[in-house]
């Protein structure tokens, strides 16, 4: 049931001063429906790897395949990408923002009114289709961004620190929501985060990267008893703290 395969990925950034190796020898497989987190010190290339998986650019060498098809230049592959901020287009209404991906991927002329309102309900928002992003709070906007991502029914969700700009309360609520929705739709997801607690609470597997050049340092499996809980409940479980301590020590040793 291997869904995503990353094989022998190297990536080098070039600047006038130097060529710096960002990723080296990355080999990973992720199963369908799995939730994996990338953590590691800054400069470990986790965001670079996420962008490569998203097919945004080609790695210097190596391949990334989803269901045995290369992600780069694959026009039929839909990927959901959530960023640190919502990046909702301020001149579009909430409805236009949510249906943007659908229009770009399918038919620009079609109306997707119902899609927007049912997705809004789905992510726990009141009917705000006709409002503009500036009229919503940060947490609400990130929910809209989630709705926009889910609208295109992506094969995989790539989450690039989507909760880091939120206040703590909104963050906890959104973690539960995202985790819920992913389970409900059986989506595969990769989360890049700085927050170790978030990684443990949400994931099935945690991949720890070391920096300069970015390499897979160690892989941690999250115990079954945490996986079945919601992120919020997981944070209160005793196993959570012991796993936190173990990974924390590893993280410390890398910095």
């Amino acid at each position: 049931m291997t869904f995503l395969t990353v094989s022998n990925v190297h990536h080098t950034y070039f600047s006038k001063e130097a060529a710096s190796s960002a990723l080296q020898d990355i080999n990973l497989t992720i199963d369908k429906g799995e939730f994996v987190s990338f953590i590691g010190p800054s400069g470990c290339g986790k965001t670079t790897l996420l962008s490569i998986i998203a097919g945004l650019f080609k790695p210097t060498s190596g391949t990334v395949k989803i269901e045995n098809k290369s992600v780069f230049g694959n026009k039929n592959l839909s990927i959901g990408y959530m960023l640190q901020q919502d990046y909702l287009f301020p001149w579009k209404t909430i409805e236009e923002n949510i249906t943007l991906g659908l229009k770009l991927l399918n038919d620009e002329k079609k109306s997707y009114e119902n899609v927007a309102s049912s997705l809004l309900r789905d992510v726990g928002l009141p009917p705000v289709e006709k409002k503009y992003p500036r009229e919503l709070s940060g947490g609400m906007r990130q929910r809209v961004a989630l709705a926009r991502t889910l609208a295109v029914d992506p094969k995989i969700l790539l989450l690039d620190e989507p909760f880091s700009a939120l206040d703590y309360q909104s963050k906890l609520k959104l973690e539960d929501l995202v985790s819920n929705k992913l389970k409900e739709y059986g989506k595969t997801a990769i989360l890049v985060t700085h927050d170790l607690g978030e990684a443990i609470a949400m994931s099935d597997r945690i991949i720890l990267f070391s920096a300069r050049p970015g390499r897979v340092h160690q892989i941690f499996d999250v115990p079954e008893e945490l996986k079945v809980l919601t992120p919020f409940e997981a944070r209160a479980h005793p196993v959570y703290s012991s796993l936190f301590q173990i990974i924390w020590k590893e993280l410390e040793s890398l910095e």
Partner: protein, 264 residues
Amino acid sequence: MNNQKLHEQFLQSLRKEKKWVRFYQILILIAFFGLWELASHLRWIDPLIFSSPTKVINLLIDKISDGSILAHISYTLFETVLGFILGTLVGTILAAILWWSPFLSKVLDPYLVILNSMPKVALGPILIVAMGPGMSSIITMGAIISVIISTIVIYTSFRNMDANYLKVLQTFNATRYQMFKEAILPSSFPTIISTLKVNVGLSWVGVIVGEFLVSSKGLGYLIIYGFQIFNFNLVLMSLLIIAVFATIMYQLVELLERKLIKSE
């Protein structure tokens, strides 16, 4: 209840301030014309050169009643509006081409800088010889004076788009054209509007200079003609008309701004 009362007070103070601003604006206007009239009347300034409001107004009434001024106004206005729209439109299209091809924009960069620092009105004589001493060469003057600076400003705004918005579109497999249409262009509307505002003034300069050179019709022609026959009433009247219409054009651009930019 108390809150409502405070809000009422707040609104009242706002209204009051607005009233005072208007009051002083009108006061300055009256003082300017009053002082001008007085100075001319009492010969503090030479009435032959600086004229006076009453003389200008009388001349304007004459010119309106014999109908001769309307042809000049509509001629100049048509040229200016066209020159100004053309300048901004061509500037936006050039900016889009530069955005489309980063290589081309690197190649053309020094030429844009040179063209921008060149005094475009100096091209006037060449334009008139090449295109004939008519409306088309004057409209070209009105456009050419604003096109390069519009290109540079709008292109800079295109490039300043937050790359993460483009990343979002890229994950939806958007083409470069879709990126331009969905993100680049709408995010630059505020910049395009402010270039429009600047271009209102610039295209008046281009058109008036063009009419100086062609000297057959229009407000620019009236100014140069008034200068030649030493009739400064005519010069000042034309200037006043230009001021009025430039203001109206500016107000129309502001109206467009409010219509177009909903998100602010």
